[in-house]
């Protein structure tokens, strides 16, 4: 088409202009294609994760029945009398996630209420970044802190018979590291509550406490609940701190003074060991990761759903 037009228009300037436009259009579409490929990397990542976990998981289930895996209570894949029941790992993971949320949810909520309703802007501008540093400290540092400071402290004060590796110290550090997830997201959603609601409540003679507990907090509840779910999901996927602090003893227990093993800690244990690849034992890490992936994905989807459903209620 461009050649046709150039033969009609005799001026050479017009020809080069048309050529330039054609090469411009070509380079534009190349650029678009490259950018699109980069965006597609994220889709490929998801597809890759799901494909790998499913492929290895399915060949695992060819060797061990799903019933033994999901309902078995003995997790000893590395022993000669191998037991492939995942319940001890799930129990360890949930125990630590539950204990951590007993710390992170109340502390995070209180911090969010303080930051959004009570703090002077000056205090807030200092306090909020400091709290966010808690989430930026590498988790290995929390593991070190739990192992070398919290456990000895607990042993010398409240629990003299606590083990070197125990679930309690892991709960504490995982709880502390997830405080900023709760406080930041909850703070944002409390501050997103329109001022008119607060002003109306004050106008009716409410005190600050009543405004916070009966107006802004309920109004921001969806965001706050979403932040709770994210914090628990983060605690479920947390790896290094629990590996260092809670140890490697898969067992079904509710006693936080004992050593437990989480799903993530098991994957680390096998990765550091000398289990040959391609064996049933090695496949366990993929099937455990598949379980972990499914649990965190469901929690994140629920949290997303809550946020998007209630987001525009006041806008």
């Amino acid at each position: 088409m461009a050649i046709d037009s150039s033969s009609v228009i005799s001026s050479s300037g017009a020809t080069t202009r048309f050529r330039r436009r054609r090469s411009r259009r070509l380079s534009e579409s190349i650029v678009t294609a490259v950018l699109m490929v980069c965006a597609a990397v994220t889709i490929l990542t998801t597809v890759g994760i799901v494909a790998i976990l499913l492929a290895e998981g399915l060949s695992f289930f060819g060797e061990v029945s799903p019933q033994d895996f999901f309902f078995g209570t003995r997790w000893t894949p590395l022993f000669p009398s191998a037991g492939f029941g995942v319940l001890p790992l799930i129990c360890g993971t949930l125990l630590i996630a539950l204990g951590a949320s007993l710390i992170s949810l109340p502390l995070g909520t209180l911090a969010a209420v303080y930051l959004s309703e009570y703090a002077q802007p000056k205090v807030r501008n200092i306090l909020k970044p400091i709290l966010e540093v808690l989430a930026g400290v590498p988790t290995i540092v929390y593991g070190y802190f739990a192992l070398t400071w919290i456990t000895p402290l607990l042993k010398s004060t409240i629990f003299p018979d606590i083990g070197v590796f125990n679930a309690l110290s892991a709960m504490i550090v995982v709880g502390i590291m997830t405080v900023p997830m709760v406080s930041s997201i909850s703070d944002d959603s409390i501050r997103a509550v329109p001022a008119s609601l607060r002003e109306a409540a004050y106008g009716l003679g409410s005190t600050k406490f009543e405004v916070v507990t009966r107006v802004t907090f309920p109004a921001a509840l969806s965001g706050i609940v979403a932040s709770y779910i994210l914090a628990v999901s983060r605690a479920v996927g947390e790896t290094m701190a629990v590996t260092l602090a809670a140890g490697a003893s898969p067992r079904i227990t509710a006693n936080p003074l004992e050593s437990v093993q989480t799903m993530t800690a098991y994957i680390v244990q096998v990765s550091l060991g000398d289990t040959p690849q391609g064996t049933t034992v090695f496949r366990t890490i993929f099937v455990v990761a598949l379980t972990l992936f499914a649990i965190t994905l469901i929690m994140n989807l629920i949290s997303d759903r809550i946020v998007s459903r209630y987001k525009e209620r006041y806008e």
Binding site: V41, T42, T45, I52, A111, G136, T207
Partner: protein, 313 residues
């Protein structure tokens, strides 16, 4: 007549506002909320002080010039420190261009349809996937060269990357990609539409507009977001353990296909030993890691203040 005073007293009883008590409850609650916020700060301070007290003994220049050793007094951080620099450098070289390009596509090019929506949802879900899962992804794709189904790299006559710097860098790049993309999208979105319209108005193409006008304006914010994402990557341990990075290395990497270890893995290795001296070495390692993080964050913050007009994050 006699009912009037009794009536008022009845009404004032009903309307007993108990303001004093209500304000007291409020103040107590405020103090409790403040204490809740301060617990985190207190733990942070105790943690830093403890690391400092344990680690200061080995904190000297030779620490960065010695390889790990069985004797604590001769042990150092050299291979881990350089390993981390190599891996993070590789991660940056991959995650920055890919992440920014993906963000440009999503913000400037992508049509508003269901495909774009899936892309966006997928990115926010990827950010919630536990990091160790990325390690298994890296292990299969880059170390074993297979996704479990279909032909492996070896079948196709290609070499896998082994447990090399390149594998580690690629794995961490995939891990932080969602963070880089979201941060870049935010700063692209903060560029006023008038700039784009002016550029289109004088006949620029879409790419020319992005390349010469939108991207330079958004760059400080993009860089800040990328550096913050990299500072997350430098502290990551689990995915690199999952790809099988070695825990004992007595050399520094020379090229991308060399074996490596990184600072957090070396710290883990020392901290997991029962001997007290090695735990102190771990604390020294943590000091170096935290200083590295501090430097990266300082760069990110200064970029934001220097160039960003509230445009950063």
């Amino acid at each position: 007549m006699t009912t009037d005073p009794s009536g008022t007293s009845f009404r004032s009883n009903l309307f007993n506002v108990k303001l004093g008590r209500r304000h007291l409850t409020g103040s107590i609650f405020g103090v409790v909320a403040l204490l809740g916020a301060l617990v985190g700060v207190a733990v942070l301070i105790i943690m830093l002080v403890e690391v400092w007290r344990d680690g200061i003994r080995y904190f000297r220049l030779e620490f960065l010039d010695l390889f790990p050793s069985r004797k604590p007094d001769q042990a150092g951080f050299k291979s881990a420190f350089w390993g981390s620099l190599w891996v993070i450098g590789t991660t940056a070289m991959i995650a920055f261009p890919v992440g920014v390009s993906a963000a440009i596509y999503l913000e400037e090019y992508a049509p508003k349809n269901w495909v774009t929506k899936i892309l966006q949802t997928n990115i926010s879900n990827l950010a919630g996937v536990p990091s160790i899962v990325y390690g298994l992804l890296g292990l299969q794709i880059f170390v074993r060269g297979t996704i479990g189904v279909g032909p492996s790299l070896e079948d196709l006559g290609l070499n896998d990357f082994g447990r090399s710097v390149l594998t580690g860098g690629l794995t961490l790049a995939l891990l932080i990609l969602p963070v880089v993309i979201v941060a870049s999208q935010e700063s692209l979105r903060a560029v006023p539409p008038s700039i784009r319209e002016a550029s289109y108005g004088i006949g620029a193409t879409r790419w020319q507009t992005v390349r010469h006008h939108v991207l330079p304006e958004a760059l400080p914010g993009v860089m800040t977001g990328t550096i913050l994402a990299l500072s997350r990557a430098i502290g990551e341990t689990a995915p690199l353990i999952a790809i099988g990075a070695l825990t004992f290395i007595a050399f520094t990497p020379e090229h991308l296909l060399d074996d490596f270890t990184v600072m957090p893995i070396q710290i883990y290795n020392w901290a997991a030993r029962p001997q007290h001296d090695f735990q102190d070495l771990a604390a020294t390692g943590i000091m170096v890691l935290l200083i590295a993080l501090l430097v990266m964050n300082a760069i990110a913050v200064s970029l934001r203040y220097r160039f960003g007009h509230g445009n950063g994050r």
